[in-house]
């Protein structure tokens, strides 16, 4: 039993196999000698997986399917302008081997008819004929991901009998479309047509085009993205000889066929398809090749103008720091201020592809926010890709908001928007760039507190006597408690406790910042909370005699006073009312801590 996709392709294969019309090309004996009922279909994905059925590894000459690849090489060698000056890109109503040029432009109508293909071959650079051909063969091989062999016998036959193509060569020379010896260009064309490929090779060559010019297996670049766009455009209108319009309506895929029996089709960004079957129709296209391409396009819904739905919004979530606070614990005063002014902040999480349309809907919404807004965070961690225009649009938006007095931070750990440097360049107006959302949200809260919290903010350090935990104890309890504490200092980055560690004490932070983190199945570390001077940790674990749920680490140099578990046990048996008093003192704090964890983890629908 095959894979689900194997089964889909097998059904098309079985349906199309019954077609036995058409004749094998017989203008040279080598082509006439093939098994006429050979038939293979391959479908290559852009991650390099190839579905194969039938005669998928049977070699045959590439023939006219070579045309887009040599055209691509000419574009790379000479540039689009120089190539456009020699070859038009208009569909032609004439047979592929017509000995004529466009009467108006006096150029070949397109690079997919022989006149255009010979001209393209003449534009490939190289010191001599051998070098030029080797460059062509090597280029095709990059698309296929293996060294493609040259079929000497087919070439000899083609060269011996190709008078019509020689006539085209001389005509091109007479109109100065090609310079130099026209026989060289025609010879190069005969040679390129005589490169052997298999159906599997062709599917990978198509997949390389689908993958923006990068071979899915070798990861080697065969062509630039701009080149791919032009070649696929020309294949869309000129690839299947006559009937280009019908092909676009019925199949809707840029494609190319050859008299060797191959047909290749490309779904940009997605897959490459190849069919091999040597019986040809009157146009010179493989009968089963055309039928299989049509059936696959229909069955698999591959038409490149097929739109199933409207593109979705690029903003996946919007909220403020009141609705979803950062994981930095704040003092009660700070919390009250943030509760009040949090609505002057806005966090936007973007997702998907940020091309023009996605960027448009995002900047439209973000740019039209109320006057009162003071801080904006734009999180692009879930954006898969951003086009140049989208990057320019986001940059312009940041400047506009800055002009209105609204600070903007980006969360862009991979530097997708190319603005990582702005965090250290104060001259850049756009604002800061953060690697993680929580740090940006903490910055956002800090910005609001700087503007609106006139009262004393959280001190950077304190003595044990000023620690708020002591407020609930009587003077006698304070002295009993403080005398039992140990002072400890942790270096920046040091681990204080690991998930699973037994309770080790009740920690009162006197200086520095501590983070609790959780590492998930995929090895990603999530911050649960960031604590600073005046806050505590370890107490719940100790009271419940359980184990640490999270890793605890020093973000900076950290000074703590610790009541170890052993001392705690001694103390509570000696002074049991102290345990109760501590419990009272810590209960509401524990509630807030749990609550903030819940809100920050799932508060904004970020689950």
């Amino acid at each position: 039993m095959g894979n689900v996709v194997d089964d889909l392709i097998a059904r098309v294969f079985d349906d199309v196999r019954s077609l036995d019309a058409g004749e094998v090309a017989d203008y040279i004996p080598e082509l006439a000698a093939v098994a006429p009922d050979s038939f293979g279909i391959c479908l290559a994905t852009i991650d390099g997986y190839v579905y194969e059925i039938g005669d998928s590894r049977h070699p045959f000459t590439i023939q006219s399917i070579s045309k887009p690849f040599t055209y691509a090489l000419a574009l790379a060698d000479r540039g689009a302008e120089a190539v456009d000056a020699k070859i038009d890109v208009e569909p032609s109503g004439e047979p592929f081997n017509e000995i004529s040029l466009d009467p108006l432009t006096e150029r070949p109508r397109n690079p997919m008819i022989n006149a255009g293909a010979i001209t393209a071959a003449s534009l490939v650079t190289g010191a001599d004929q051998a070098t030029r051909f080797e460059r062509i063969r090597a280029a095709y091989s990059r698309y296929a991901g293996r060294e493609l062999p040259f079929n000497e016998a087919v070439y000899e036959s083609e060269a011996r009998t190709g008078h019509r193509n020689r006539a085209i060569g001389h005509m091109l020379r007479s109109f100065d479309v090609i310079s130099g010896d026209p026989n060289d260009a025609v010879d190069l064309y005969f040679r390129q047509c005589s490169i052997d490929v298999t159906c599997r090779d062709l599917s990978l060559m198509a997949a390389t085009m689908a993958n923006n010019g990068v071979n899915p297996l070798t990861r080697e670049r065969a062509l630039t993205a701009v080149g791919v766009e032009q070649v696929l455009s020309v294949m869309s209108t000129c690839g299947m000889y006559d009937g280009a319009g019908k092909w676009l309506v019925e199949v809707g895929l840029p494609a190319k066929s050859g008299v060797g029996g191959g047909v290749m089709a490309v779904l940009p960004g997605q897959i490459g398809i190849a069919v091999y079957s040597p019986r040809l129709d009157a146009h010179g296209n493989s009968v089963r090749g055309v039928a299989a391409a049509k059936a696959l396009s229909k069955e698999l819904e591959l038409h490149f103008l097929h739109v199933t739905r409207a593109s979705r919004s690029s903003i996946r979530a919007r909220y403020n720091v009141t609705q979803a606070p950062s994981r930095v614990r704040r003092t009660p005063t700070e919390q009250a201020v943030l509760e009040d002014v949090g609505k002057r902040s806005r966090i936007y999480e973007l997702h998907g592809d940020l091309l023009f349309t996605g960027a448009e809907s995002a900047v439209r919404e973000i740019g039209s926010v109320d006057e009162g807004l003071e801080v904006v965070v734009i999180d692009v961690r879930r954006v898969d890709d951003a086009s140049d225009v989208a990057i320019r649009m986001i940059t312009a938006l940041r400047t506009q908001l800055a002009d209105k007095g609204c600070a903007v931070a980006l969360v862009d750990p991979s530097g997708l928007l190319g603005q990582a440097s702005s965090s250290i360049n104060p001259a850049q107006r756009g604002g800061r760039v953060f690697a993680d959302l929580d740090a940006a949200m903490a910055w956002c809260e800090d910005a609001l507190l700087t503007l609106h919290c006139s009262q004393q903010r959280q001190p950077a350090s304190m003595s044990i006597e000023d620690h708020p935990v002591l407020d609930a104890l009587s003077p006698k309890q304070v002295s009993a408690f403080v005398s039992q504490l140990e002072s400890r200092t942790y270096a920046r980055g040091e681990t204080i406790a690991r998930r699973g560690d037994a309770a080790s004490g009740f920690y009162l932070i006197l200086q520095g910042q501590v983070s609790t983190t959780f590492t998930d199945v995929q090895g990603l570390t999530h911050r649960i909370a960031t604590l600073s001077a005046g806050m505590t940790f370890g107490e719940m674990t100790m009271f419940l005699n359980s184990r640490f749920l999270n890793d605890v680490r020093a973000d900076t140099t950290v000074v703590v006073a610790v009541l170890t578990t052993a001392r705690y046990n001694e103390l509570t048996s000696a002074a049991p009312e102290l345990k109760l008093a501590l419990l009272e003192s810590l209960a509401s704090g524990a509630y807030e801590q749990l609550d903030m964890t819940l809100r920050s983890v799932i508060g904004a629908g970020r689950i």
Copy 2:
């Protein structure tokens, strides 16, 4: 200061405005009378927002831009086969008003030249000429989202001077391409060309095509998706008269122009563009219209063959129930079994668009799992859209896995895959369909427990004497404790506690299921845990004298024994060692509960 996108369009507008070549159409006085330097650009998004600059609301006659819309109406009225029998879809190298048919097929070459457009008009159904025209005008109005007016003066002039079109009409009649009076078809064509539009209207008509045939403002369907695909295909190759190939290379958007000075272009799934400027080039296309379309395509990167990157994997996360358990609390025995056999389960979360390519990568990975796999959950909640072939592929995958003895559940609350019924139809092999992931994961765990947990499973109900909490108490403590308990029964769906409620007691579940849930900023309710007989809740809140963090609700009829806060206070002052004994008993359970919450919320990277 405009919006960021306004600025981008304004730059193109300013650049193109300097072009003052070309002549206004003057074959009738009404067309010659326009202001030759009028110029407007509109860009309409598929959510109905229109960017406008310049003379965007100035009326002009639609002229040839009517052709795709009447062709679409003919396709809807007669079906593609009947229309294809009368009008080819091949690009033509000839002028738009050529009095000739394809010599081979004896049909107009395409519906964008006059011969094809007159034929399309003849195929519109309706009892009489007035009805037919009213159907055309109403159809155009659906695309524009407003009633489009008829310009009597232009029509009169066109009708008076249109001898060439009448010649085409009679030629079509002589070849039996149209039946009936050819003057009727030509008259209909003159009338459709004389409908007044603005640049804004045209951009919305284009956006309607981009939006798969649904008007973005009125949400009214103007054309089926299949019709849109065919019309856009023809516009791609035949929309801009001569130079279709060049247009595709340079602009890469299906488009149509008219001698009234309008140009309309469509980026499928994304936006509609319109330009108005009446000076025409030699082909009859608006000079600034063509230039602006080119500049917008280049600036905004709109070429429809532009692929910026490979499509991403459709599987966003994969894990098993050991790595990320369901939120149903299990007994220690059950937990141990799940720890051991959890690797025989697999949860796959899919995302993005599930077209062929996305479905292919998903079924390839899911279908190739190890032989030992027993339960699979496929979560499609984050899939934006699924094509028919993708649905067939997932269905086939479910059958294949079932044949291998692997049960499969879908999480598909919106019925995207159209298989909601399978959960109640045991004949359907694919397995169950769930509305939320956690229910599916609980089912997944239940399936593993049924196969692998030979020991007594969690009982559905128990007497208070069997409740595991009592295990840690002495016989004397048990009787002291049990005597203080109240029995309560809650109906299915009843709320037991709300977030923010003060501690109300220590609840021992004797029968039924209870869920704790959290409602986020966006009003979505997330389940934190599901508890059943033998488990407890409320104790942490009570011991810490704090408030409920979550809502607690009865999923079924629930029987609990409750130690109220008042009784607890009495009891602990009378027997303080009982409080300590209870704390001991509950500590490890509390740890597990918190840990499971963390793992289930962020365990599998689902944060």
